[in-house]
């Protein structure tokens, strides 16, 4: 029984089962609500998208890039849709691997004004990032841990070894920050 429990626990922790609770059992919707007959079930929509092991169990950026979804970029025709292809190096002196922050993937979803200048200054090196703050829902944690991939996925941000970082910085000064 204990072994079974451990197996079930690790499967659900690792998200290997990739299943979604029906709305009537999610403890958030009122099971008596007449809407439950009409609303789309998460499993119906999300099971068709690129699989992940955390959050919604969907690789959302991949879903965009492969065309699995094509969400609208704007409602007002006059809105300028900004996408920036620029990588920044963060945490270049830490105990964890270096963070290569890609603006492109973020601006596919977000506008510059969603992060700048109130959360992060545009000037490279001007931001003091802290995991404590991030885990408390500040800085990157405004989204990561709430809507974008959760903070259990350390290596998705801490994605570059120091050796690789040094190699890339020497090669391409435009990527150096």
């Amino acid at each position: 029984m204990v072994a079974l429990g451990v197996a079930a626990a690790s499967a659900s922790v690792l998200g290997q089962d990739r299943s979604w609770l029906p709305l009537s059992k999610d403890n958030v919707h009122d099971p008596l609500s007449p809407a439950l007959r009409l609303l789309q079930e998460p499993g119906e929509a999300l099971s068709k998208l690129p699989p992940d092991t955390a959050g919604n169990m969907v690789r959302w950026v991949e879903a965009l890039e492969t065309g699995a979804i094509n969400p609208r970029t704007n409602i007002f025709p006059e809105t300028k849709v900004n996408v920036l292809d620029l990588d920044n190096w963060l945490n270049t002196n830490g105990s964890m691997p270096v963070v290569k922050f890609p603006h492109r993937q973020h601006t596919l979803w977000l506008d510059c004004a969603n992060c700048h200048e109130h959360l992060f200054k545009s000037k490279a090196g001007a931001n003091k990032l802290s995991m404590l703050q991030i885990l408390n829902g500040e800085q990157c944690g405004v989204c990561h841990g709430a809507v974008s991939f959760p903070l259990t996925e350390c290596s998705r941000c801490h994605n570059t070894t120091f050796e690789e970082y040094r190699r890339q910085v020497q090669k391409g000064p435009e990527a150096k920050k």
Partner: protein, 130 residues
């Protein structure tokens, strides 16, 4: 001075922790927002806002930049009168892009008694303040 917990108590605690891990808790989909600033006071079920559903159709920037929704659950003061006038949710929920505000139950479908919050997936269960 506190005594050491007995072996039996430790085993019981361990089993309880295991059970907690093994039995999947009924929980919202990641990033679902429960909005209950006014709903229940006004006699309606709270609102469930599913991020997963909306982001399949709209990028974050549409609501969080064009429509002016702040990125903090509970940080937006949205009145039904705003929505009916075409602001916030009403930009799409107007009977043209999405269902119109007369379909009260479709948004007001939350479990009564649930406070405003966002359902996160890691240890902090979402942002630390809202």
């Amino acid at each position: 001075m506190r005594g050491r917990p007995s072996a039996a108590a430790m085993v019981a605690g361990f089993l309880a922790a295991l059970q907690f891990l093994a039995v999947p808790l009924a929980r919202a989909e990641y990033a679902d927002v429960l909005i209950n600033k006014r709903s229940e006071k006004e006699g309606m079920r709270p609102v469930v806002f599913p991020h997963w559903f909306h982001r399949i159709r709209f990028r974050c920037k549409v609501c969080h930049n064009e429509l002016g929704f702040k990125m903090r659950a509970g940080g937006n003061d949205v009145l039904m009168v705003d929505i009916i006038e075409g602001k916030f949710c009403g930009m799409c929920h107007n009977g043209q892009i999405a269902w119109s505000p007369e379909n009260c139950d479709l948004c007001h479908s939350g479990k009564p008694g649930t406070p405003t919050q966002i359902f996160g997936g890691h240890e902090t269960s979402g942002p630390g303040r809202w």
